[in-house]
Symmetry: C2
Subunit: 160 residues, 2 copies
C-alpha cells in the first residue's frame, strides 16, 4: 500500500507536469509574432507572460534549495516591472530557451527528491518559523506555483 504522503506528492507533481505540458503546447503552437500580441486589448503580451513564467520558475530553483537562479536578469523586466515598462526585452527565441531550461532543471531536481524531502522547509522561511508553520514546505511551493501557472495558461490560450 502506498503511503498517503506519497500519494499527495504524486497528485501535486502530476498536476505540475500536466500544466507544464499544456503551457509548452501553447507556446510551441504560437509563432514569435503571435507572442508579441496582447492576450486581450490593453493587457499583457504573450512575450511578457513567457518571460514572467520563466522568471517565476527560475526563482523556484533557489526557493526549493536546489541551485542558484539562472537568469536573474529576467527579474526586472518580467517580475518587478509591468509589461511595456521596459523597452529592451530579450528575444522570444531567447525566452523560449530559458523557459525550457528552467523547467528541465526543475524536473531533474523533482525526480531526485525523496517523499520526505518535499516536506522540508523552503528557503524563504526561517527554521524558527518553520517549526511553528510546518506547512511552509517545498511541496506547498509547488502547489502554489502550479496554480500560478494555470492562471496564466488560462490567459495564454486567448492568443490562439
Amino acid at each position: 500500500m502506498t503511503n498517503q504522503n506519497q500519494l499527495a506528492v504524486k497528485s501535486v507533481l502530476d498536476t505540475w507536469n500536466g500544466r507544464i505540458k499544456q503551457a509548452n503546447e501553447i507556446f510551441n503552437g504560437l509563432t514569435d509574432e503571435q507572442l508579441q500580441k496582447e492576450i486581450a486589448p490593453g493587457r499583457n503580451r504573450g512575450i511578457y507572460l513567457l518571460g514572467h513564467l520563466t522568471a517565476v520558475h527560475d526563482r523556484m530553483l533557489p526557493l526549493l534549495d536546489f541551485e542558484a537562479q539562472v537568469y536573474p536578469q529576467l527579474d526586472e523586466p518580467f517580475l518587478t516591472k509591468p509589461d511595456k515598462a521596459v523597452a529592451e526585452l530579450p528575444s522570444v527565441k531567447e525566452l523560449r530557451t530559458a523557459w525550457e531550461n528552467v523547467n528541465s532543471k526543475l524536473t531533474e531536481h523533482f525526480n531526485k527528491m525523496q517523499v520526505d524531502e518535499w516536506f522540508q522547509k523552503h528557503s524563504a522561511v526561517t527554521a524558527e518559523d518553520f517549526a511553528k508553520e510546518p506547512h511552509r514546505n517545498r511541496l506547498n511551493v509547488v502547489v502554489g506555483r502550479a496554480g500560478h501557472l494555470a492562471y496564466h495558461v488560462g490567459q495564454l490560450v486567448l492568443l490562439k
Copy 2:
C-alpha cells in the same frame, strides 16, 4: 509534529480556499452588465464562466461522495455546450446565488473531513481500479479543480 499527509491536505485546501476567495472578489467586484461581456474579443462571456465554474463545482458534490448535484440544469448550458449556443440562460443573479451555494456546501463538507478520508476513492473510479491507482482519491479531485479554477480566474480578471 504534524504528519506529512495532514500537511499536504492543508496545502491543497489552503490553495482551494484562496482561489475561491479571489474568484469571489472578482465576481463581487463586477456588475451583472460587466459579466455579460466577453473576456476577450470572440471569447467566453463572464456569465458563461460563472455558470461553468458553478456547474463544475456542483458536480464535485457527488464526485467527492458528499451529496447529489444541486443544479443539474446548469450542465447543458455551461458544460455540454459552449458559450452562446444556448439562448435562454439563467440570470446572473441566479448564478451568483448558485455559485455561493455550491461553494458553501463544499466548504461545509471539507471542514468535516478527517485526513484519511481525503485519500479514499472518489465516486468516478471503481474499487478495482482504485486498488491499482490509489492516487485517484478525493484529494486529487480538489488539486485538479483548484487548477481549473485558477485557469478561469486568470481569464475573469480581464473583465475588470
